[in-house]
């Protein structure tokens, strides 16, 4: 909005691996970092890496990382030029973006209006329809027997987007607009009773959070009996994760692939950095991601990318963002799912094949400069696959496993971003090892001398680190890169063999088994793949069987969601 401004000090308003990630790029660029921490994170790895640390509240996120005033106060007190919100928490929160602007601080992300239009999943649906993208039938719902007016902070009150177009855009399922049309006429904020919407679009339906991604608030409902509880829990989860209890329904698609396109925009021009496939999910939580999406024909891939860019242009998108699609690769069809108006967990796979430091581009855009990359500058080389190591126990229904890390051994990181990108390196916009630090410096050991082979680990755990029960379970991301998919897979398999994480239960063995699975190795699995694989897997094969037996007798894990989804998920 107000010309360009060099960022000298950035407040990192997040935690975990993304806080470490942002601090590392800031450090490389000579930008000071100030980290906000809750009491539970005061001695975390990012806290040890940041130049300064400011406590913003007690452990629960609602009292710390989701507290807009505390974040802005910390930014002001620290004399920060900008706030990097990471992902999850307040990253897509227009209130924070506006509060930053009011305090004279740059919010590293899209304009508040764009956040309202895109970060808000319901509004994004409207914009997608406006641009002519196919969406799944669905609509905003009220929890049965509940009254949203009880919640004074409900964004549905103040920020309800303008009604969508009256008629269906070309290619849109007529039932989508029928359900959406109900929004304007019915209850407050366009919400109508869930049973009504579900009845209209037909079961099974997916309950989704309007306020953010990350799979929070997502539940599959197969029949009317389970609807009320699912909507209630989803709404509670959404409220806890995003401070926004609104949920909506979409038709649940059993099979499809989750493919997304990475965008960079400066508010005027928008480019893409290729696509990713994130179809290996469990309960809408992505577990394995890769770039590029395997097995798409050129025509479909080009349409996805062009469509994403056109939506980005329509939104006058500024910053890094992602457009997510549900893809039927066999039929060559796709549906818009949502826009993630922030950096995503899985951004490293894109960095690995483009050589572009996406966080560095976020910072450059936030300084008010036009995009320094043109579409023609973007070249993709090789293939990258990422697994998310989580503190959860696959042998006991993936229950979360908070605790204290006693030992953390990872494969040595041999690349930070990706192969050299002539575009960035040649422009001299970064320091000497800017966009392409040492991609060829060290071989992983699996591809003797091959420049494209490499391993990267993004983590916030080390021996002695706490894994608090208050936040998500992501411990580390392990990324393997190769000249092609088979090479990347082999690199990643070797990398996982070198991982040891003690002190909490992890899904490491699950990842090892999945990477050894023939169907995954063939490429192009759908979002139901992992559920089928888990169902077929003999008990105890993934992890200690006796451990599983001892903890299976608890009640009530995951009441509404026992199915894999269409990939409405996305990262936290």
């Amino acid at each position: 909005v107000s010309g360009s401004r060099v960022l000298r000090r950035v407040l990192v308003a997040n935690r975990g691996e993304i806080a470490v990630r942002v601090i590392r790029t800031c450090r490389r660029l000579g930008i000071e970092t100030v980290l906000t921490v809750s009491d539970a994170d005061a001695r975390s790895l990012p806290a040890r890496l940041a130049d300064q640390v400011i406590r913003i509240g007690p452990a629960p996120a609602s009292a710390s990382y989701l507290n807009v005033d505390a974040v802005v106060d910390a930014a002001v007190a620290a004399g920060a030029d900008a706030v990097h919100p990471g992902y999850g928490f307040l990253s897509e929160n227009a209130v924070l973006a506006r509060a930053c602007a009011a305090a004279g601080i740059v919010f590293i992300g899209p304009a508040p209006e764009t956040l309202e239009a895109a970060g808000d999943k319901l509004a994004a649906r409207e914009h997608a329809i406006t641009v002519g993208l196919p969406v799944l039938p669905g609509g905003h719902v009220l929890p049965a027997g509940d009254n949203m007016l009880k919640f004074p902070n409900d964004p549905a009150r103040a920020d309800e987007p303008a009604p969508g177009p009256d008629g269906p855009a070309a290619g849109v399922d007529a039932r989508a607009t029928e359900a959406d049309a109900g929004r304007a006429a019915d209850g407050p904020g366009g919400a109508v009773p869930a049973a009504e919407v579900a009845g209209r679009i037909g079961y099974p339906v997916l309950v989704k959070a309007a306020g953010g991604g990350g799979g929070r608030g997502l539940r599959v409902v197969r029949d009317p009996a389970g609807l009320e509880e699912a909507v209630t829990l989803a709404s509670a989860e959404a409220h806890a994760a995003f401070g926004d209890p609104r949920v909506y329904l979409e038709r649940y698609v059993e099979r499809g692939r989750h493919v997304e396109v990475q965008l960079l925009g400066d508010g005027e021009h928008v480019i893409h950095l290729g696509d990713r496939d994130c179809s290996v999910q469990r309960r809408y939580q992505k577990l394995i991601e890769e770039a590029p999406a395997p097995g798409l024909n050129d025509d479909l891939r080009e349409r996805l990318r062009a469509t994403a860019v056109s939506l980005g242009e329509h939104l006058k998108y500024k910053g890094a963002g992602t457009v997510e699609f549900l893809v039927d690769a066999d039929r060559g069809e796709f549906y818009f799912l949502e826009v993630n108006a922030r950096v995503q967990v899985e951004h490293p796979v894109t960095e690995a094949v483009t050589g572009i430091d996406i966080v560095a581009e976020q910072l450059a855009i936030a300084e008010g400069r036009p995009l320094r990359l043109k579409q023609a500058d973007i070249t993709l080389a090789g293939h990258a696959i990422e697994v998310r190591l989580n503190a959860e126990d696959p042998a006991s229904d993936f229950r979360p496993s908070p605790g204290t890390i006693t030992r953390a051994v990872f494969p040595a990181t041999t690349f930070s971003v990706g192969p050299p990108s002539p575009a960035v390196a040649g422009k001299g916009t970064e320091d000497a090892d800017g966009g392409a630090p040492d991609a060829d410096a060290a071989d992983d050991g699996t591809g003797a001398g091959d420049v494209a082979s490499g391993v990267r680990v993004d983590t916030h755990v080390q021996a002695g680190a706490a894994v608090p029960p208050y936040y998500d379970s992501l411990l580390a991301k392990v990324i393997g890169r190769g000249t092609d998919r088979a090479h990347a897979l082999a690199t990643l398999r070797g990398a996982l063999d070198r991982c040891v994480v003690d002190g909490v239960m992890t899904n490491l063995d699950l990842h090892r088994a999945l990477l050894a699975d023939a169907e995954f190795a063939a490429g192009g699995v759908d979002t139901g793949y992992l559920a089928r694989w888990l169902a077929a897997e003999p008990e105890g094969q993934v992890a200690g069987a006796e451990q599983a037996a001892s903890v299976r007798n608890h009640h009530g894990l995951d009441p509404g969601a026992s199915d894999l989804g269409d990939g409405g998920g996305g990262d936290g």
């Binding site: 921490v37 009491d39 539970a40 005061a42 001695r43 975390s44 940041a50 130049d51 300064q52 640390v53 400011i54 452990a59 629960p60 996120a61 005033d69 007190a77 004399g79 509060a99 004279g104 509940d146 919640f151 929070r216 509880e229 209630t232 829990l233 709404s235 509670a236 409220h239 209890p245 229950r399 605790g403 204290t404 006693t406 030992r407 051994v409 990872f410 494969p411 040595a412 990181t413 930070s416 090892d433 630090p437 040492d438 060290a442 050991g445 699996t446 391993v455 080390q462 021996a463 002695g464 680190a465 706490a466 894994v467 029960p469 070797g494 070198r498 608890h554 009640h555 009530g556 009441p559």
Partner: protein
């Protein structure tokens, strides 16, 4: 300045061409162990030891509305460390004996502020109590909520009738809301935890008087 990924990659590149199988480096600020893995490639075990440079705002912290920046920009905690850095490094010959154990067993000294983790296993598993009441235990360590959202009605009140599948509360662990079911047919006799409080794994949440 802490060790960067680029530093490690540089060290690794150097090390990879040398006849060594492991490297242990420890300074006041970090500990780094690199080992050649049997199957190829290297492992990295690192610990950043620098203390967080925690800025304590003045008690009368200036509100956000007034753009006054307190004098906290000199980064306390870091300046003092630079002068005392003493690097200690060992590199083990490829032909040498097994890797030194000094980093294989990392000191559990990093007593991180594990505010919420105390509960694991701490609370004794609760079953039926002496009065024949059935316990509802926390299925996971997490924040106990009696209502689906702030301001909403509680799931159950004392005296309410429940069946095994009745949702009586939710426990939030690692951002996931988990329903807590009554597990028993009967009446809610007592609610033992306040809404919003942290409940360790297995903590007694409620007591149900079973129907006879």
């Amino acid at each position: 300045v802490d060790l960067t990924n680029e530093d490690v990659a540089d060290i690794l590149a150097l090390l990879d061409s040398l006849p060594y199988d492991s490297l242990d480096v420890e300074t006041p600020r970090f500990r780094l162990t690199l080992r050649r893995a049997p199957g190829g490639g290297w492992t990295e075990e690192s610990q950043v030891l620098s203390e967080p440079a925690l800025v304590t705002p003045a008690p009368d912290a200036t509100p956000a509305s007034s753009r006054v920046t307190p004098g906290i920009s000199e980064m306390p905690g870091r300046a003092g460390q630079a002068g005392t850095a003493r690097a200690r490094g060992t590199a083990q010959s490829r032909t040498g004996s097994e890797a030194s154990g000094n980093s294989a067993a990392p000191k559990a000294g990093g007593t991180a502020g594990t505010a919420g983790t105390a509960g694991t296993g701490a609370a004794e598993a609760v079953s039926a109590d002496a009065d024949g009441l059935a316990a509802v235990a926390a299925p996971l360590p997490g924040t106990f909520y009696r209502a689906p959202r702030p301001g909403a009605d509680p799931f159950v009140q004392v005296g309410d009738e429940v069946t095994p599948d009745t949702v009586v509360a939710i426990v939030e662990t690692m951002k996931l809301m988990n329903s807590v079911h009554a597990g028993t047919t009967g009446r809610v006799a007592r609610i033992c935890v306040d809404s919003g409080e942290f409940a360790p794994l297995g903590a007694l949440l409620m007591l149900i008087e079973p129907a006879t």
